[in-house]
């Protein structure tokens, strides 16, 4: 098996900002271990094969550097979970004094 442990999954969940429950950790650790074990088959491929990241033969697609309309502030804020004084209101950042 790929040896993904329950602790590994807890670590991945922290990195991915997912506050998973203990019951989920039990379920996910077995499943993710089995999935990673299966997909690890790609390890058989020789190292000298070049990678393909995307299939469109285009690079550095740029538009002319001209001002174009963008979202109005009230439209951008309309679906915000919280807004104040024309800005997104967000919770405090960890470690800051209130």
């Amino acid at each position: 098996m790929s040896d993904i442990t329950r602790d590994d999954v807890a670590h991945l969940a922290r990195l991915a900002r997912l506050a998973v429950s203990d019951a989920e950790l039990d379920m996910f650790s077995g499943q993710i271990d089995a999935i990673v074990d299966t997909v690890s088959r790609v390890g058989e491929i020789p190292d000298d094969v070049p990678p393909t990241a995307q299939v469109v033969p285009q690079t550095n697609v740029l538009r002319p550097d001209a001002t174009e309309p963008s979202l109005r502030r009230d439209v951008a804020l309309a679906e915000a979970p919280a807004a104040e004084e024309g800005r997104f209101r967000v919770p405090r950042i960890l470690g800051e004094e209130l």
Partner: protein
């Protein structure tokens, strides 16, 4: 003309009658809204293709189309024809949820390019269709709002992720729909519901306004009940868009012309390759039987059918389940509870990163969490070379297999998916079994070429629809349409009705 006749007509025929003013777009739209009302609910037992209906908006769009036609100026060949939109395409006038609690009720500030184009073409958006959450799945069972059901057997899945669009088209709730295909999410639902589903060449249909799952694989495409209808819709939505940097400048292949040419039923001089790897163990006998019949029909149309081997296609599934989750883990990082969508735990006691974690825990379903964590793992320093890096190398080998096969063949064919529609619940707790539904469709996402699924009769063992997949080189989508249209005509009508009756669901009015 009766409402039941209107809902069984193809989009091309509906458009002809609407433009000849034999019937109005408003009447056609009302007939489909009535069909939806009759068979879509309740969510627990109906087809449940729609997450949101906009009857008022649809009738207003239909009346506008009727006025333009009365003035002698229909906006496009499909003006006045109803359409359903997968709910991962942004719409300013309807909520867009991606079937996730994290976006429940969200009203996007802009229309997706494809939505803007079909509005400009005078089509009539009916509503938003169900999907696996963020398009991650093969059955719609991962929708936060409950699964859609296969109109041919309501105990079975309609495919996924675009099972809402496929079931709506199959049930006669709409003649057309849009889907998005990252690993087969248009084609596999098309196959299991007996409808046509097309994944265009990557980059030929703008992804602007498609909620991103795996950006190097995602492609929007048409769902319909005929090959010509899919082609007509394809030409409405396709073409370069300055809002999508991966949008290609090459002209859109002439898919409508190809569908019309194919319908004349001559495939002389066309070389068709049967992918030998997509057969054998794991394939339902009835699916292989229907596929063998299709190969015979294609030969009778004058095509030369040969076997080709694509030995690296065996790496497609593992590579996909590394690349797609990796890109998803990055794309879904935007759901951070700060600018839009759900926010949980903002009570003054939790810091921003805790609010993010609580929100994502509450807002994402199990499959989305699994894929985010697999992607996070595949991209982590200790695993990147062995997992993500190797998956990208696998992608190169798959591109090479296609290149070699297309040197000797004009198109490649296979069953679209190894089995017919499986019962709801059968694979829900076994992600790896679920992933096998995409076995034959994934290579074309990894390589970016065009591929479609066209109905291929019924499986002899369970009577359910089977799909024939036709793959064409990048920017040669027209070849797939030509072969599909020829096959569609040669196979003739199913002995089964065009759309299911669904009498048990008809509400008494």
């Amino acid at each position: 003309m009766s409402a039941s006749e209107l809902i069984s007509l193809d989009a091309a025929e509906l458009a002809r009658r609407i433009h000849a003013r034999e019937v109005s777009s408003a009447e056609v739209t009302r007939a489909h809204l009535e069909r939806i009302e009759a068979v879509d609910g309740p969510a627990e037992s109906g087809v449940h293709a729609f997450l949101h209906l906009d009857a008022e908006g649809a009738l207003a769009a239909a009346e506008a189309a009727d006025r333009a036609i009365a003035d002698g100026a229909p906006a496009s060949p499909l003006a006045g024809v109803p359409i359903a939109l997968k709910d991962n395409l942004t719409t300013t006038d309807m909520p867009t949820t991606a079937a996730s609690r994290i976006l429940e009720g969200w009203r996007p500030p802009y229309d997706a390019t494809v939505v803007a184009r079909l509005r400009a073409a005078g089509l009539v958006p009916l509503g938003k269709t169900n999907l696996d959450e963020f398009a991650m799945g093969s059955s719609t069972e991962n929708s936060a709002f409950g699964p859609s059901r296969n109109p041919w057997d309501l105990t079975r899945i309609p495919g996924g992720s675009g099972g809402g669009s496929s079931s709506a088209v199959a049930a006669g709730e709409t003649p057309l729909a849009l889907g998005s295909d990252t690993g087969g999410s248009i084609r596999q639902p098309g196959a299991v519901t007996g409808t046509v589903g097309v994944k265009p060449t990557y980059g030929t249909v703008s992804r602007y306004g498609l909620i991103a799952f795996s950006s190097s694989l995602d492609q929007i495409g048409p769902c319909a009940r005929s090959v010509l209808d899919a082609a007509l819709l394809h030409e409405v939505i396709g073409g370069q868009d300055g809002n999508d940097q991966t949008s290609v400048s090459a002209p859109l292949p002439p898919v409508v012309e190809a569908a019309q040419a194919g319908a004349r039923g001559d495939l002389a001089g066309v070389r068709i390759g049967v992918v030998s790897e997509f057969s054998g163990e794991g394939y339902q006998p009835g699916v292989l039987g229907a596929f063998t019949d299709a190969v015979r029909v294609l030969g009778e149309l004058g095509a030369e059918v040969v076997e080709v081997s694509c030995p690296s296609f065996g790496y497609a599934l593992p590579a996909y389940y590394l690349i797609a989750p990796s890109e998803a883990s990055s794309n879904l990082a935007r759901f951070d509870a700060m600018r839009y969508g759900l926010r949980v735990g903002d009570d003054g006691g939790h810091a921003a990163d805790e609010v993010m974690s609580l929100t994502r825990e509450a807002g994402f379903g199990a499959e989305v969490k699994r894929r985010i964590m697999i992607g996070t793992h595949a991209l982590s320093a200790g695993s990147y070379d062995a997992l993500y890096g190797k998956a990208q190398k696998a992608r190169t080998l798959i591109v090479r297999d296609f290149t070699a096969a297309f040197e000797t063949c004009d198109v490649l064919i296979s069953p679209t998916t190894p089995t017919t529609a499986f019962p709801i619940g059968e694979r829900a707790d076994d992600p790896l079994a679920m992933y096998l539904a995409d076995l034959c469709t994934i290579p074309s996402n990894l390589a970016g070429n065009a591929a479609l699924s066209v109905p291929c009769g019924r499986s002899a063992d369970d009577g359910l629809p089977v799909g024939l997949q036709i793959m064409a080189p990048a920017l040669a989508d027209d070849r797939a349409y030509r072969v599909a249209a020829a096959y569609e005509v040669a196979r003739g009508a199913d002995t089964a009705p065009r759309i299911p009756e669904l009498r048990a669901l008809e509400t008494t009015r």
